[in-house]
Symmetry: C2
Subunit: 332 residues, 2 copies
């Protein structure tokens, strides 16, 4: 339905039906001036993320469903990076003329999908017109775990760990920008697709694009010994730089220990690109980057150590190079 | 400074200096993945409001300072309308090329002004580039008062009250759209300004424009007997309609009891306009509209009664007319 027919309040009524209602912790949800929440813990976590069309996403290669999923996923990732448990989500949407109520319902279906997986309730927000393309802002409230993990606790001698493969999302974005609409060719059973004159396996392309379009945050099982943590949104080196800044410490990374997926290796090789460019500088992996004492037992990948001062990367031949915090930064 | 020089993280550092630091209730504020808040009460209130350039504000007649003030004011108004006390604010800003860091600092000065008045701490948010004009989203967390007041508690026989003058903001916006840049003529000591061929007193114009640009929310002193409440953002009739909808009740309004300011009456008379068009259908007054038992003693203006069914307005001659919930609605 056109939004000029349903109007703002009509749309809110449609969305209210899509959204699971009041729970024991949500005393009053959507439809009043503010949501009323019962907070069982005495400490809460709050994070807010804004996504703007043309900056954070491109509707020519993301569906509304995927966008909704990722929108909540990036907020969940922030709460997990503090060792918390996500609970309540507020959704603000600025909607341009070109979108109709079906688009917005699809967006909410994507939000609901991952909200269901994590037991998150949508409790409020704002819905308005935008003359400026689609704009989303999400605020996620979580319960703090037994221990809140900031960026500032890394200590000299700690190991540096990453919870998942790095660089897939950045390569996925690179491919999506090249292929755009034609990604559907991969989905319709073709074995390969040509990018920059090279044939790439459709299965690789779909996996990497999927990591970019619908990143799935995964909490650490045991955070008791973790000394600092961040999620990789700006890029591995940039986010490690944030930990170093806040902890007033340095870091050494062993390049060959950085976990790379088979798909990234294969596609980078075909295109003649260095996969580490994507893994070190590409962002939006939403894996967790953390530090813990060197004897910490974990399934995560140990990629380096916290040192007193300086930031270095050591390659396979033992060559040590200083690194700058390269990664995505707005306005630059 | 150009944002292309400072970059995202440089801007965040500039803003952090402008923002009062950690308080006993803010265990960790700006600069981590999420803010960590200590919540003394067991019930919290949360509201989120999005403001988009070209829809909610026009930089040709609002300053960044005024915009920052109003941005937090509208969120405060939502928390007050639930009978709560505002505490913590998260600010997301999408910043277009045309803005520099001084503009954003001015915006924060406006936010800080009203934050200081209400004892609110800025605890986090998001800062990003926008290709789509300036976009703001605020999320305000408050403590619930002894009693949480929703829109749904109005009962037949209750009086309907409004806490302040209605229509000033809508007339202010009307004048600003006509005068735009020339409002400065009012500030530079002139006694009158010509609008639509009529001379208006500059003092009236500045008062009305000020109510639109920097609305000041005021909490009710005693909410113990209040049965339902909303803030007037969409317009008096539209917002009363929300109370009727949620309370499953009707309403009668006595037109001549609606409080109108001298400035609105004077300007409307000069322009040959009906002041009640502004008072009933204009929005953004951010006064509180509430219901309470008929014997309720208050400084607020009693403008009507809750009835079982139907929505009526009675004019000075006793003529009763049905009203529809007319007011601002996005997309329509």
């Amino acid at each position: 339905m056109k939004l000029s027919q349903s109007g703002e309040f009509g749309l809110i009524k449609i969305l209210q039906k899509k959204i699971p209602g009041i729970s024991s912790e949500v005393l009053s949800g959507i439809g009043d001036d503010a949501a009323v929440l019962k907070v069982p813990d005495k400490k809460i976590l709050v994070t807010s993320d804004m996504l703007i069309e043309g900056v954070h996403f491109d509707l020519s290669f993301t569906t509304f469903y995927q966008l909704g999923y990722k929108f909540l996923a990036v907020n969940i990732s922030d709460i997990l990076a503090m060792g918390g448990r996500p609970k309540h989500f507020l959704v603000s949407i600025g909607i341009p003329d070109k979108c109709d109520s079906d688009d917005i319902c699809e967006l909410y279906s994507g939000i609901n999908h991952i909200a269901g997986e994590f037991g998150i309730t949508i409790v409020g927000g704002d819905t308005c017109a935008s003359k400026q393309g689609l704009v989303l802002n999400g605020t996620l409230i979580g319960n703090a775990g037994d221990k809140t993990i900031t960026r500032s606790g890394a200590k000299e001698g700690d190991g540096i760990f990453v919870s998942d493969m790095a660089g897939d999302s950045a390569m996925g974005l690179f491919l999506l920008m090249k292929i755009r609409m034609h990604i559907k060719r991969c989905e319709s059973g073709n074995a390969s697709i040509t990018v920059q004159g090279k044939a790439l396996a459709c299965s690789d392309v779909l996996t990497l694009a999927g990591k970019h379009l619908m990143p799935r945050p995964v909490p650490l099982k045991d955070t008791r010994k973790v000394t600092s943590m961040i999620d990789i949104s700006d890029g591995l080196l940039a986010d490690l730089g944030h930990i170093c800044d806040e902890s007033n410490a340095g870091a050494v990374i062993h390049k060959e220990k950085i976990p790379l997926s088979g798909e990234l290796l294969s596609v980078a090789k075909s295109l003649g690109r260095d996969p580490f460019d994507f893994a070190l500088k590409g962002g939006e992996d939403y894996a967790l980057l953390f530090t813990a004492p060197p004897n910490y037992r974990t399934n995560a990948y140990r990629i380096g150590e916290i040192i007193k001062k300086g930031r270095y990367i050591i390659d396979g031949n033992g060559k040590r190079t200083r690194f700058k915090a390269e990664g995505y930064e707005h306005f630059k």
